[in-house]
């Protein structure tokens, strides 16, 4: 039954998108963390998607998704002059994480829309399969 594979395809995409949502959540949660004792602030993370063939044979029509890697954004963190802050360095600067909240919100909306799309595809495929089961009645 070739349509059974839709659940593998859309399921892998939904799981990849939920991992992306997870990463966005941890980025947003750490948007205002300051550098620890090692001087390293939290770095924003990004997921990278990759096509993964989920069919039995190398069939190009059943292309799922997987998260191939999670990379850290290496740009310098936000530096704020605040000498009274307990984590300020010798010059009186506090280093915050390099998370861009606006970017993360856009990322979040995109991830949730893609997730919804895949769930809808699965719902449609399920109702089609149920109707196929009742064929000829």
């Amino acid at each position: 039954m070739s349509m059974m594979n839709i659940f593998n395809v859309s399921g892998s995409a939904a799981s990849a998108q939920s991992q992306r949502l997870n990463v966005v959540a941890s980025n947003l949660a750490n948007a205002d963390t300051v550098a620890g004792p090692d001087g390293q602030a939290y770095k924003a993370r990004q997921v990278t998607f990759q096509t993964q063939l989920v069919g039995a044979q190398n069939d190009p029509t059943t292309a799922g998704v997987k998260v191939s890697s999670i990379t850290e954004d290496q740009t310098a963190g936000r530096r704020v002059h605040d000498p009274k802050h307990p984590s300020a360095d010798a010059d009186g600067y506090v280093t915050y994480s390099n998370v861009n909240a606006v970017e993360e919100m856009v990322n979040m909306i995109s991830a949730s829309r893609s997730y919804q799309n895949n769930i809808e595809v699965m719902n449609t495929a399920k109702s089609l399969l149920m109707k196929t089961l009742q064929m000829g009645q």
């Binding site: 395809v9 990278t48 096509t51 190009p60 029509t61 893609s114 495929a125 000829g136 009645q137």
Partner: protein, 140 residues
């Protein structure tokens, strides 16, 4: 005699098979909407159906012109799979994308809805065909 009864069903069965194949293809495109470098695929349905039902010769079937040549498989399932793969096209992107992804979500959703309705239509054709045959058998 009996294959006369099922002949008309065969066409619809092939159509249903290709519809489910196309459904899976569109689901793959939607799943990969955010994958960098993914190229959207589309099935040439009319051509694939013609080849699967034998009214057109498939471009992918090996032709034998010499006695020693090895021909393509003649059985239905292999031929229909091959014709479906030969008719896989690459969708032309309507808008360029920085990550070279060519999935157009509006078009994919429209194709998905279109394919869903046509799959259900084919299912109803089959059901009605079976019902007609049954009522002819019972003679009432």
């Amino acid at each position: 005699m009996l294959n006369r009864l099922t002949d008309s069903l065969d066409f619809q069965a092939q159509a249903l098979n290709l519809r489910s194949e196309r459904q899976r293809l569109i689901a793959s495109n939607i799943a990969n909407a955010d994958t960098p470098g993914y190229v959207a695929r589309e099935l040439n349905f009319a051509q694939a159906l013609k080849e699967a039902t034998g009214t057109a010769s498939s471009a992918a079937v090996l032709k034998t012109s010499q006695a020693g040549h090895i021909g393509g498989g003649a059985d239905g399932t292999v031929a229909s799979n091959r014709s479906a793969e030969a008719n896989l096209l690459y969708a032309a992107p309507s808008q360029t994308n920085l990550d070279r992804n060519t999935v157009d979500m509006d078009r994919e959703r429209a194709s998905f809805a279109d394919n869903t309705v046509k799959y259900e239509a084919t299912l109803r054709f089959i059901s009605q065909n079976v019902r007609t045959t049954l009522s002819a058998i019972t003679g009432q």
